[in-house]
């Protein structure tokens, strides 16, 4: 005899009212724009001719792969997002999309982006894209995010890989130049995210995420931001004297690096609540401009040299 009378239980299935815009929000469009931009620079600086259709395909696959990572990240962090004011409006905490729906969406996009890049472009790029998604979802989101204050340092490797994927797509191989771009984004990530974590530390503490300001306190975080910024400025300038990138890039990296360093010093010095908050927000905003401007200079320099080699 059955304990539960199935004839009397009717579970109403949930019918989704999610709009296309909710699914687009799952892709983290702002993060995606930075990924696409850094990947575009990886394509531009790669040597040799790369057919525009294949270049577009590569960028599309990298963008969709990044979106897939974002969707899977949101599916796995719905509980955290609901507790933080910055993320409480995302589709899962708002109840627009369920976790299984987001998971299915993310897995589908991840599958198609990797397979398409592998088949249409090459399998080195396809494998690197698969590794990037795996690193962001499994290593960063599942393993590190809730366990260690070094989460964004190690996890930053995932966000640093798009130019490497793009270079591999264009050349079918790897080289020093894309690894330099990887290192620049890798060392840019901690000052950028710790600046955010400093003025959102209450949010992270409420959600139980062990970001550095929550675990080690704001002063230790300010010191780490300064130290990573010093390394970032050195790493970003190094390709010029090493002969990989030219003088215009070198000058831009020093000027932009000077701005970044001045703001990091300001964050280190300002300890009073209001002034500290202002300094941290300035550094966070400038860090986004810094990466865009640095990569744009590099891309434009290489593009102009290719278009007008005699003038250059």
């Amino acid at each position: 005899m059955s304990v539960v009378d199935h004839n009397t239980i009717e579970l109403a299935p949930r019918i989704s009212e999610a709009e296309v815009s909710d699914y687009i929000a799952l892709l983290k469009p702002r993060v995606m724009s930075l990924v696409v931009f850094t990947a575009l620079v990886g394509l531009v600086i790669a040597p040799g001719h790369f057919h525009p259709v294949l270049a577009f395909t590569s960028l599309l696959c990298i963008a969709v792969g990044a979106g897939a990572s974002g969707a899977l990240n949101m599916a796995l962090e719905g509980d955290i997002d609901a507790k933080m004011s910055r993320t409480a409006n995302r589709p899962i905490p708002r109840g627009r999309i369920t976790k299984p729906e987001a998971m299915a969406f993310g897995m589908t996009l991840a599958f198609f982006s990797v397979i398409t890049l592998g088949i249409l472009v090459n399998w080195i790029a396809g494998s690197l894209l698969a590794f990037t998604i795996f690193f962001y979802v499994v290593i960063y989101t599942i393993w590190l995010k809730r366990r260690t204050a070094q989460n964004i340092v190690i996890g930053g490797a995932a966000g640093s890989l798009p130019p490497v994927v793009a270079w591999a797509a264009a050349t079918g191989s790897l080289s020093v130049e894309p690894l330099l771009l990887f290192l620049i984004i890798f060392f840019w990530t901690p000052p950028h995210f710790w600046a955010l974590a400093l003025f959102r530390s209450d949010d992270y503490a409420r959600a139980g995420v062990p970001m550095l300001p929550v675990v080690a306190g704001p002063d230790a975080t300010r010191l780490q931001i300064l130290l990573y910024t010093i390394v970032l400025v050195a790493v970003a300038a190094a390709p010029w004297p090493l002969g990989y990138f030219d003088a215009i890039y070198g000058m831009a990296s020093l000027i932009l690096g000077g701005g970044m360093l001045a703001l990091a010093v300001n964050v280190y010095r300002r300890r009073e609540r209001a002034r500290s908050l202002r300094a941290t927000r300035k550094l966070f905003a400038f860090s986004i401009f810094y990466l865009f401007a640095l990569f744009a200079t590099l891309g434009l320099e290489v593009a102009f040299r290719a278009i007008a080699p005699t003038i250059w």
């Binding site: 299935p13 989704s16 709009e19 296309v20 699914y23 259709v53 294949l54 599309l60 249409l120």
Partner: protein, 54 residues
Amino acid sequence: MADRPEPDGIVLTEAQKRSRRRRSIAIALALGVLVVLFFAVTLVKGPAVLNRPL
């Protein structure tokens, strides 16, 4: 003439029908883009695209 029978089972609201239709169109567009992409790359690479080693 007999009245139309009441549909049994799940009846979608207008909002649910609208959002489902928009999602379906988005999926169709994405599939269309994928088809065009594979077609364009096949033109670029030529018939050899089918004979490349994995």
